[in-house]
Symmetry: C2
Subunit: 402 residues, 2 copies
């Protein structure tokens, strides 16, 4: 079996951890499998490099920032290759350009375009374990990076390009849980979860696996498993359609996100097509808008509410202030100190009462719901941040405990 | 004028230093010149990377060690490019592969083979300052490094490839001195020195400029100047034939080196051709042999003495022990705690009395001379390490003070 193994920052956070990772890879080889490895930068090294750049310039040149940040994975890849060789395992580090990982010509958050895997294949055929830098590629001769969490995407893309049988995402937790065990200590590890559910959970703030990686895995049908590099234990399989025990439950997991702010534009005249303009301008400023709720007040006016990260709120309000004349809205309301709590489950599609049940649970706990957003497999509620733990605990008890 | 400016590790040792270097480059551009820049890794970052590698393996894989160490210069090049852009100077970092710097396929101390400078030329033509990682190149698709001090060589090679008018080596001293000012406080800065003299001084332990870089500058006739990135002050020109004031003096400078050990093989039969074998085996073990003195005792036997670094002495003695039967030498003597002091000057060629004068000065100070080695432009004496400062001071007074 050809296995792509990805090790995140905490998994290679020290020399001791790198040695432990080399042991995991050695064991996989001894079990008769072939391996290709994708690594993140050691622990906080990306943050340290970022701090150096910001000491020079608050907005450093994006090309140079990518050139700088890409060194973090080069360090961990070279060190891991050394650790493998010490164990008698033939290994070779590959940077983005050496592995022929091509991206869009964009810096900071480039999307992968293609991988030319001949060099990697050749190494594997020679019994050499390629240790590939995650998070980075090239566009032309420029080094590009994929943005935070990009190493997960690199791993899935490498697995797809190599036609690997399996992609293992090693991290510092043992899998995907029904919710954050720090909030619900008896949260359960899922043995499997569908791509779609994982996508909702990943997008909703469960930081186990990057959404783009899940998307890519779904697109290329890569078998994915999330597991711990710290303890030997079965992880969580991410599959097309989950078939195990958990699927008999309507809700698979509960995700939440803190530091959410809500901005409401009151009385926006419909005929001006102003809304496209609002979200276009915010996107251009790099501000991610999450939940959007729109309601018609009169026949010609709408109220629009949406959420952004608290850190972006001030800037978003400034931008909207600049658009006041153009949009002709009547008022702007903002509210920080919010959180988003979401229930996710493929079973919801056939269970229309789930949203109502969620509102009931929150109402019984006197938790006010400021906004609601739904998809086929999730319901999200915006609530006060200081109530989020209670909300998660109540919802976990209602939906995920026997 | 097209100027190649090289900045060493202490010159880019912190964000403040990188900002200062960006100011130097900006001033050069404002003076109407074009620039290409070569940088070393920040301060002790190469040592830190080396320590990581050694924490994994005492003898890490050479390819991976190069992959690891090459990240140090990538960091400083990217940061310096950012600092230049902040000043409105167009700049772009180039790694070894991006700058098309090709070396022999050897790791750890590769020699440069060629540079294809079209990409660098194009950048310069567009008004962009290329900021090139020193110390590294590629062989095939592998990253290689040039060994310690390799950034000097990179700078000279880039200057030669671009046909630059001048190569400025910025360092933490203001130029080349008649000797180390820490030993002789009134040592004088030389306004110029010949390639050959600089080569002897560089080889003899004056750590201003790497010998390979001087060799390359001589070979390609690159105008070289050594100066400080910390203070604005005229540096020392390294030229084909020094013509200034100092050349009227016979001795240009005094170099010294501590931690020298002497090994003597007593009674080696001449007919066995054993000596080639001795030095071949030591070279293969990576042990640098410096001064070699051979004297015939009887018609068929020779005594051979040579010096190595103290750190290599134990290993050298081991290797020689293994060769005892083959070489049939009668005895082996070793002595650590030595130093080498050398006087250098192109004027010596026409002044045969200089060596004698050196011995007289040392004898008058009761400093025993263990070995002597001469070239056309230098005389080196091996003396006890605890007398080296006194020797340098006495020789400086005798040869370099009015």
């Amino acid at each position: 079996m050809l296995v792509v193994q990805k090790f995140g920052g905490t998994s290679v956070g020290s020399i001791e951890r790198i040695e432990a990772v080399a042991d995991i890879i050695s064991r996989t080889l001894r079990a008769g499998h072939q391996c290709a490895v994708v690594v993140s930068a050691m622990g906080h090294s990306t943050d340290e490099l970022l701090a150096l750049a910001h000491a020079i310039d608050r907005l450093p040149d994006p090309r140079e920032l990518d050139a700088l940040l890409s060194t973090g994975e080069q360090v961990s890849a070279a060190l891991l290759a050394m650790a493998l060789q010490k164990r008698g395992v033939k290994a070779r580090s590959f940077t983005g350009w050496q592995a022929r990982i091509y991206t869009e010509p964009v810096h900071g958050a480039a999307r992968l375009v293609r991988i030319e895997p001949d060099g990697l294949r050749e190494a594997i055929a020679q019994g050499v374990v390629p240790v590939i830098t995650g998070f980075q590629g090239i566009a032309g001769e420029d080094v590009t990076t994929l943005g935070r969490g990009g190493s997960d995407t690199s791993a899935v893309a490498v697995a797809a390009a190599l036609g690997a049988d399996l992609c293992e995402i090693y991290t510092d937790v043992t899998g995907v849980f029904t919710t954050d065990p720090r909030v619900v200590p008896h949260a359960r590890k899922l043995s499997e979860i569908s791509y779609d559910e994982m996508l909702e959970l990943a997008n909703l703030g469960a930081q186990v696996l990057h959404p783009r990686a899940v998307e890519a895995a779904k697109q290329f049908n890569v078998r994915l498993v999330v597991k711990s590099s710290f303890v030997e234990e079965e992880g969580t399989w991410v599959v097309a359609t989950a078939t195990g025990f958990e699927q008999r439950q309507v809700v698979t997991g509960i995700a939440f996100e803190r530091e959410v702010a809500r901005i409401a534009l009151i009385g926006v005249p419909l005929h001006r097509h102003g809304l496209a303009c609002v979200f276009g301008e915010l996107a251009q400023a790099g501000i991610n808008v999450d939940v959007i709720v729109q309601s018609v007040v009169q026949s010609s006016d709408v109220d629009v509410s949406f959420t952004v990260k608290e850190a972006d709120c001030e800037r978003a309000v400034e931008i909207l202030g600049g658009l006041k004349d153009q949009l002709a809205y009547q008022g702007l309301v903002r509210e920080a100190g919010l959180a988003k709590v979401s229930i996710v489950g493929a079973g919801m599609i056939s269970n229309p009462g789930v949203a109502a049940e969620m509102f009931r649970v929150l109402a019984e706990a006197d938790i006010p719901v400021k906004m609601v957003s739904t998809s086929e497999i999730k319901v999200s509620c915006i609530i006060p941040a200081d109530r989020v733990e209670q909300a998660v605990q109540r919802l976990h008890a209602a939906f995920l405990e026997p």
